[in-house]
């Protein structure tokens, strides 16, 4: 090949690399934003974007020139002090030191003057706040009441905290929802596997009239919208006394997961080598033995794939949980908790929302990254045939 083509190739490779980097960044950014925000302080979240989170944030504060501290000097009443010592700021300036970037005397203009400038106020009073936070307020008359307000803008160091997680898990009952989600998910993942495995074996390796129709039926049921089942099945559950309960949601998830389970497992089992099964039959093994001793172990990748699928699906489900579980705090799963409770009650509390979302997606992400291999294999067994 000529150099020209090689050069073109290299250019193309670079272009491809750049394109993929762009795509990956685009795909990752929202999640990174969530993760970063979940660790930020709530005041800083609303003051600067998460992409600026490593930088200090300028926030406005208020303090008071306490009238109790006033002293008379040559006919003027003077209050001196340090704005960072005001107890309102204790959370931000635990050392009672900081850097003032601007100050003001009115709430509408909290950053009217640069530090060090002597501001002329109404009634002949003057105020100066220095960069280190020391201030001097002078008034021609004795100060009455609690003393005048000072406003200042100061640089706050970037704060990362786990406070949002504490709030979400301890105060907002998310721990309860987490356990509920787990409670819904595990039985709803384990049970359909067994039921489906036997059915899939029958559809793959047993010969009986109507097999083709049944397979077509399963393929058809893959598509039936869940919505159709909601009203009739909830009525059915109420009728048989299951009502809205964990038992009800396990039954529902099991049934809703079955078509995919049967379909995936059958597709996989059909591909198993015929001669192993034939020779086992010749050796006198029954179908039950063939199934438990040969098919099940060999189908492990497909079983794992479906298990991951069903786990993700039930963990992430909102619709079935909304309908088949009662809406009370003690049986809410995380998705319902976030959508119906936190988005409502913590709608503007970005840090809390981010932490809650991250708590809910952490387990699926771990499962996803540790078992991705099986998931991909399962997807391929199901789709590329």
């Amino acid at each position: 090949m000529s150099d020209n083509i090689v050069g073109e190739r290299a250019g193309l490779t670079i272009a491809v690399n750049i394109a993929v980097v762009a795509l990956v960044v685009l795909w990752l950014i929202p999640t990174v934003g969530l993760l970063v925000s979940s660790f930020r302080d709530r005041d800083q979240i609303t003051a600067t974007g998460w992409w600026q989170s490593p930088l200090p944030v300028e926030l406005t504060f208020r303090a008071r020139a306490p009238a109790a501290d006033q002293v008379e000097e040559n006919g003027v009443w003077v209050v001196e002090g340090n704005v960072f010592e005001d107890r309102e700021q204790a959370r931000w300036f635990p050392e009672a030191t900081g850097t003032v970037t601007a100050f003001g005397s009115r709430g509408v203009a909290p950053a009217e003057f640069p530090p060090g400038e002597v501001a002329e106020l109404r009634g002949g009073a003057t105020l100066v706040v220095n960069t280190d936070g020391t201030f001097r307020y002078e008034s021609p008359e004795e100060i009455e009441g609690a003393g005048p307000r000072l406003y200042f803008e100061a640089r706050t160091p970037p704060q990362f905290t786990t406070a949002n997680y504490n709030t979400v898990l301890l105060a907002d009952n998310m721990d309860r929802a987490f356990i509920n989600t787990l409670t819904v998910t595990i039985p709803a993942t384990v049970i359909p596997i067994l039921v489906a495995a036997f059915a899939a074996y029958a559809l793959a390796w047993m010969d009986f009239p109507g097999r083709g129709l049944l397979i077509a039926g399963v393929v058809g049921l893959l598509v039936v919208p869940l919505q159709l089942a909601l009203v009739p099945m909830l009525n059915f559950h109420n009728m048989i006394g299951v009502g809205q309960s964990f038992l009800g949601i396990w039954l529902a998830h099991t049934a809703f997961g079955l078509p995919l389970a049967i379909y995936l497992l059958r597709n996989y089992m059909v591909g198993l080598p015929r001669d192993i099964i034939e020779s086992a039959k010749v050796d006198g093994a029954t179908d039950f033995q063939i199934f438990t001793r040969i098919i099940l172990p060999l189908s492990f990748p497909a079983l794992a794939a479906f298990a991951i699928f069903q786990f993700l699906w039930t963990w992430n489900d909102l619709l079935v949980a909304k309908v088949f579980l009662p809406a009370t705090a003690e049986s809410q799963v995380m998705t319902v908790k976030i959508a119906d409770d936190l988005l409502g009650s913590r709608g503007g509390d970005w840090g809390i929302l981010a932490a809650a979302a991250f708590v809910s997606i952490a387990v699926p992400l771990v499962v996803f990254f540790s078992m991705q291999r099986y998931l991909v294999r399962g997807l391929l067994a199901g789709s590329v045939k």
Binding site: T60, F61, R62, E88, R106, G107, V108, A109, P110, R149, Y151, N173, P326, A327, T328, A329, E330, A339, D340, D341, L343, G344, S345, R346, G347, G348, D349
Partner: protein, 451 residues
């Protein structure tokens, strides 16, 4: 008050069922802010020793703790044993219990609609005419309270079925006294003044209102409170009642006028922080935060009495926040209407103790004890306001006592599909630019479809 808000916080402590045999929080005879005389007189007149009184209600968590403490005084005065149990699913539970023939003696209904249903089905025992007269005389806006709790019984005859106890006020505007003082604004006494103030703030370069309708799947409900308050300020309360029952159609000119009166505030980008479009999505719990920033993002916020829970930590009543009555039009002469919500006691299984209990609710001490605990307002005019431990509650209660009309939150009384559905989404559509008449007629269509 929109009830689902509290389901989440109250859910922590469920089904507190406790026999009331616990120490009294305030020793009878001590602290003269309490009317101990009423306690002692009641104790002399009634003796229920050996009788048991069962009560179920929607109060859980802190409210349940409070009510058991309050009920302890009834137990102490009469010698009866009182059992209160609260549950988040009270509204389902009480129907099931009544149908199964095992209701408690008394039930506490979170809103009149369910009590009305149960009265019609014969599950409630009417209260006597004396009680109705007592309410008219001793409750502020007494007639309103009697009307709200009077329903048709199984034979269609109307009677008083409920005794309102513990109410909430919605007609409140929250503001920062410091910022008002700095800017030299006065508290508006009339709707006309409120509108002037709104315009004045804009002229001064500020933003008068913070409005947030966002509430996840319930987005839009704060707007229903606005429209209800406007309805009470523009028209006779009878019209309001007809609106709730849909005898006055949703798309009638009176209702459209109320929606547009709300629109005067919200549909003006200069009046609302971030503009109207932002109001539609700003979370209602996030909305008041604008009062507390420097410079203030807004000067006023209209919301019910629960909102201080969502104020920034450490903010103080009187300095950082205060509230005033959402005023009425001077020109309309409709008095001082107050929109709110409240719980009512009804007799579900008649007994001597149940009757005596209803009489006990008329004593000042039955109100004052809870006033001294937390989160309790009462229209009872003969209680000592000093009993309030919390100054802001006292000021709020004054608004309730000054009321000439009290009406229950209409969206809570309307069928769920309207009051917790079409009304909400309709208001969102309106705020972002739809026509008031179009929105109103859509809601009416939805209501028609339910017949």
């Amino acid at each position: 008050m929109i009830r689902f808000l509290f389901a989440s916080t109250a859910g922590v402590a469920l089904g507190i069922g406790s026999a009331v045999a616990q120490p009294l929080p305030f020793e009878p005879g001590e602290e003269d802010r309490f009317n101990w005389q009423s306690h002692e007189e009641f104790a002399e007149q009634h003796d229920l020793t050996g009788q048991t009184l069962t009560i179920t209600g929607p109060w859980t968590g802190l409210d349940a703790q409070n009510v058991t403490q309050v009920l302890a005084y009834f137990a102490e005065a009469t010698g009866a044993t009182v059992n209160y149990s609260g549950s988040d699913s009270f509204e389902q539970d009480i129907v099931i219990a009544a149908q199964a023939g095992s209701p408690p003696n008394l039930a506490v209904f979170p809103q009149p609609g369910l009590a009305q249903d149960m009265a019609a089905r014969g599950f409630l025992t009417p209260l006597d005419a004396e009680t109705a007269d007592w309410l008219r005389e001793n409750y502020a806006a007494g007639e309103s309270w009697v009307e709200l709790a009077s329903f048709e019984g199984p034979e269609g005859e109307e009677a008083l079925y409920g005794f309102f106890y513990k109410v909430d006020v919605k007609s409140l505007v929250w503001y920062s006294p410091e910022q008002f003082e700095e800017a030299g604004y006065d508290i508006p006494e009339t709707m006309e003044e409120l509108k002037e103030l709104t315009e004045m703030i804009v002229e001064d370069g500020g933003t008068p209102w913070c409005i947030g309708l966002g509430s996840g799947a319930a987005t839009g409900w704060p707007a229903t409170d606005w429209v209800e308050d406007m309805m009470l300020r523009l028209h006779e309360p009878e019209l309001y009642d007809q609106w709730v029952e849909n005898e006055l159609p949703f798309d009638s000119p009176e209702v459209v006028e109320a929606i547009e009166a709300f629109g005067w505030f919200v549909r003006n980008d200069d009046f609302v922080q971030g503009g109207s479009a932002a109001a539609a999505t700003t979370d209602f719990r996030d909305a008041p935060s604008g009062l507390f920033t420097f410079p203030p993002a807004c000067y006023m916020h209209k919301q019910a009495s629960f909102i201080p829970t969502f104020f920034p930590e450490g903010s103080e009543y009187g300095f950082d926040w205060d509230f005033f009555y959402f005023p009425a039009y001077e020109e309309k002469d409709l008095g001082q209407p107050v929109l709110g919500a409240g719980t009512l006691f009804s007799v579900t299984d008649d007994s001597e103790a149940a009757r005596v209990f209803i009489d006990w609710l008329k004593t000042p001490i039955a109100h004052e004890v809870w006033m001294a605990l937390s989160g309790f307002l009462t229209p009872h005019q003969n209680v000592n306001p000093e009993a309030f431990d919390d100054e802001s509650l006292r000021a709020m209660n004054d608004i309730l006592l000054d009321a000439t009309t009290f009406r229950f939150d209409a969206s809570d009384l309307m069928p769920g599909e309207i009051g917790a559905g079409a009304f909400w989404t309709g208001m969102v559509d309106y705020v972002i630019g739809a026509d008031a008449e179009t929105v109103a007629s859509q809601i009416q269509t939805r209501w028609d479809a339910m017949r």
